[in-house]
């Protein structure tokens, strides 16, 4: 009796390591998180290699700048550059990479090459909030408005204004965001002189105190108004059209017909049957589009000289500021990965079928 239980216990003990590893491995949540970490590592490594393959390097760019701006000779410029940069471009790539990853694990993103002594993390902390603010508000406005309008339009397909709105939506969705930005700026700011664009540059006015005051909030909205308007105009058409077509195809589904036949109130059909199912693809789309819009902020922010992360990325790209570029790419990647994780969970919550079939 006692030998049998002991034997069973050891067998259970031996089995448990592999067993639990398999159990953890097959857990939906854990697998998603492992995948997310892998993604961040992969993209970081890819970017690390790619930016070092770019022609020229930070020291050369700086030397060229010194030569053209201050008309120094090459050797003078090189001396000055080497004094400024605590950075060895000729260090083996693998060594640079392992050092970088090691620092990264300690939460250290390195220091910027072009503003020596400034940690990359500080630069990101100073610029990222503005991008999150402008892109976030813009997407929120356009998504809410777009879903609302799209659904109404799907119901009122015969109304005269539906054709106009629909045409307008497809017009907006097909025009690149930066084109919309340029048009806004050229017409409102230069041709009609309705708004003082030179005063609206930057993320906030120089003298304003940062804090939760009415004055500050008014000021940041003033400065962000053009980028936000651009984001709204550039994305709202897509939301309207996707919601409209999504609603229309949901309206043709059998379960809606059955719900009607059962005599359910129209309001319940609209929200619980049509709305919920029609919104499904859009929620994922919204979360995925965050990354796309942040990536597109390079263009929008340089048009309006808005001091966000995209603006800094272009600058670091042109000066080949490796650590800063890596840091910004890392932040953008992490935000996209997190958004995608959220999209997965939200989708599973909305659509139980995914949890059973598509999840594996």
């Amino acid at each position: 009796m006692s030998t049998i239980t002991a034997d069973a216990q050891t067998r259970a003990g031996r089995r448990s390591v592999g067993y639990w590893a398999r159990r953890i491995g097959s857990n939906y949540l854990v697998r998603k998180i492992i995948k997310a970490v892998f993604t961040v590592w992969f993209v970081t490594s890819l970017i690390f290699v790619l930016i070092r393959l770019m022609p020229s390097n930070p020291v050369e760019v700086y030397i060229n700048e010194l030569i053209t701006q201050y008309s120094l000779t090459y050797s003078e410029a090189r001396d000055q550059a080497s004094a400024l940069f605590a950075f060895d471009v000729d260090q083996p790539l693998l060594q640079q990479y392992t050092e970088y990853l090691g620092q990264l694990l300690h939460g250290n993103l390195g220091t910027s090459l072009r503003s020596p002594g400034t940690p990359v993390l500080d630069i990101i902390k100073a610029f990222l909030p503005w991008t999150i603010f402008s892109v976030g508000i813009g997407l929120l406005i356009s998504f809410t408005l777009g879903v609302f309008l799209g659904m109404i339009m799907a119901y009122k397909r015969d109304a005269w204004w539906e054709a106009i709105l629909s045409g307008l939506a497809s017009m907006l969705s097909s025009i690149p965001s930066y084109i919309i930005g340029i048009v806004l700026l050229v017409f409102l700011g230069v041709y009609w002189e309705l708004i003082p664009i030179h005063l609206m540059r930057g993320s906030h006015s120089p003298g304003v105190q940062i804090g939760f005051t009415v004055e500050f909030i008014k000021d940041i909205f003033y400065h962000a108004s053009l980028p936000i308007a651009t984001y709204v105009l550039a994305t709202i058409g897509t939301w309207i059209l996707s919601m409209k077509s999504s609603t229309m195809s949901t309206l043709g589904e059998d379960y809606v017909t059955v719900a009607r036949a059962r005599g359910l109130p129209e309001s319940r059909i609209t929200t619980a049957y049509v709305g919920r199912n029609a919104m499904l693809p859009l929620v994922t789309q919204l979360l995925i589009s965050i990354g796309f819009v942040v990536g597109g902020s390079i263009l929008i922010e340089s048009i309006f000289v808005y001091q966000g992360i995209g603006f800094r990325l272009l600058e670091s790209l042109n000066t080949r500021d490796y650590p800063l570029m890596q840091g910004i790419f890392l932040i953008i990647t992490i935000s996209v990965v997190v958004a995608n994780l959220l999209a997965d969970f939200v989708y599973g919550w909305f659509d139980p079928r995914v949890r059973v079939a598509g999840g594996d």
Partner: protein
């Protein structure tokens, strides 16, 4: 399609008549949707402008300092730029590159997306899991910033290279939506029947699934085109890609030469802006007619 496949060896005349009939049928279907037909006409107009236009209107290469920033007149339909060159002639000559590249990228990316998406959903198993993970990882790479890095890396002054690169970069999004679509189609009765009858992979993909996805494919193609133009013009606007004169380069020139300061340069910057916006619009509107042709559920009236 049906007329063409019925007789296997048609005589040229018959073929021509059949071709004419299908063109007529195509136009009739296209014109069902007013917006879509308008888009189609605009698209054909742009093709003519870009392909035939340069033969009729000479390219102006010499600058004329006495005639800078002129407003539209009979001599210069759209006025002149900062160097006194005719803007209309630049528009005519600046379209071919962009439109060619867009068509090429659209075709390439659609092909890749459909092949991978359909294979993945039909084969399933490990193949599907690997590709899905790869696509997930790929989608999280910030695309435009990555393009900006790649633009300095690879010499993108060649149309083909840029098209290939853009198609290569955009495979994942398309793959994902096609895969999802095929997955849902797979559950339909007629596909399950075909699987049960063991009709073969090729038959299932090309006879049962693809025809039901034509609207999706048409949309994918137009989406590939518009995102190609977005990327290319964006890169050119930032000054990262050295290309010969095209609409994007015109915007870049107008921008850097002070469109944000001078009222006079409004024609210089707005002409290429309008050209790009209208071309994108024509493609998107045209895709509506295409969608309706292949998806009768959407047909109105």
């Amino acid at each position: 399609m049906a007329e063409l496949t019925r007789s296997t060896h048609p005589k040229p005349l018959q073929w021509l008549a059949g071709f004419g009939r299908s063109i007529g049928r195509f136009l009739r279907l296209m014109s069902r949707n007013k917006t879509g037909f308008l888009g189609f006409l605009m698209f054909v107009g742009f093709l003519l402008l870009a392909l035939v236009g340069p033969l009729l209107i000479p390219e102006e290469t010499s600058a004329d300092i006495t005639a800078i920033y002129e407003t539209p007149s009979r001599a210069h339909i759209l006025g002149t730029d900062s160097q006194g060159k005719d803007i209309w002639s630049q528009i005519v000559h600046g379209g071919r590159d962009i439109i060619q590249m867009a068509l090429l990228t659209g075709a390439l990316s659609t092909f890749v997306g459909i092949t991978l998406g359909a294979l993945s959903a039909v084969i399933g198993g490990r193949f599907d899991a690997t590709l899905t993970t790869a696509a997930d990882v790929w989608l999280t790479i910030p695309r435009f910033p990555l393009l900006a890095v790649l633009a300095t890396l690879i010499k993108l002054d060649n149309l083909m290279t840029l098209a290939l690169l853009l198609a290569f970069l955009s495979w994942a999004g398309l793959y994902r939506s096609i895969r999802a679509q095929v997955f849902s189609l797979k559950e339909r009765d007629y596909v399950e029947a075909a699987v049960a009858l063991d009709l073969g992979l090729a038959h299932i993909i090309f006879q049962e699934i693809l025809p039901n996805m034509m609207s999706y494919i048409a949309i994918s193609f137009t989406f590939g085109m518009t995102s190609a133009i977005y990327a290319q013009v964006g890169l050119v606007f930032l000054g990262l890609v050295p290309l010969s004169r095209n609409w994007g380069v015109m915007i870049n020139l107008a921008w850097t030469q002070g469109a944000i300061f001078f009222k006079d340069s409004v024609y210089f910057i707005m002409a290429p802006v309008a050209a790009i916006a209208l071309f994108q619009l024509s493609v998107v509107w045209m895709s509506r007619s295409l969608e309706e042709i292949f998806n009768p559920r959407l047909r109105t009236g």
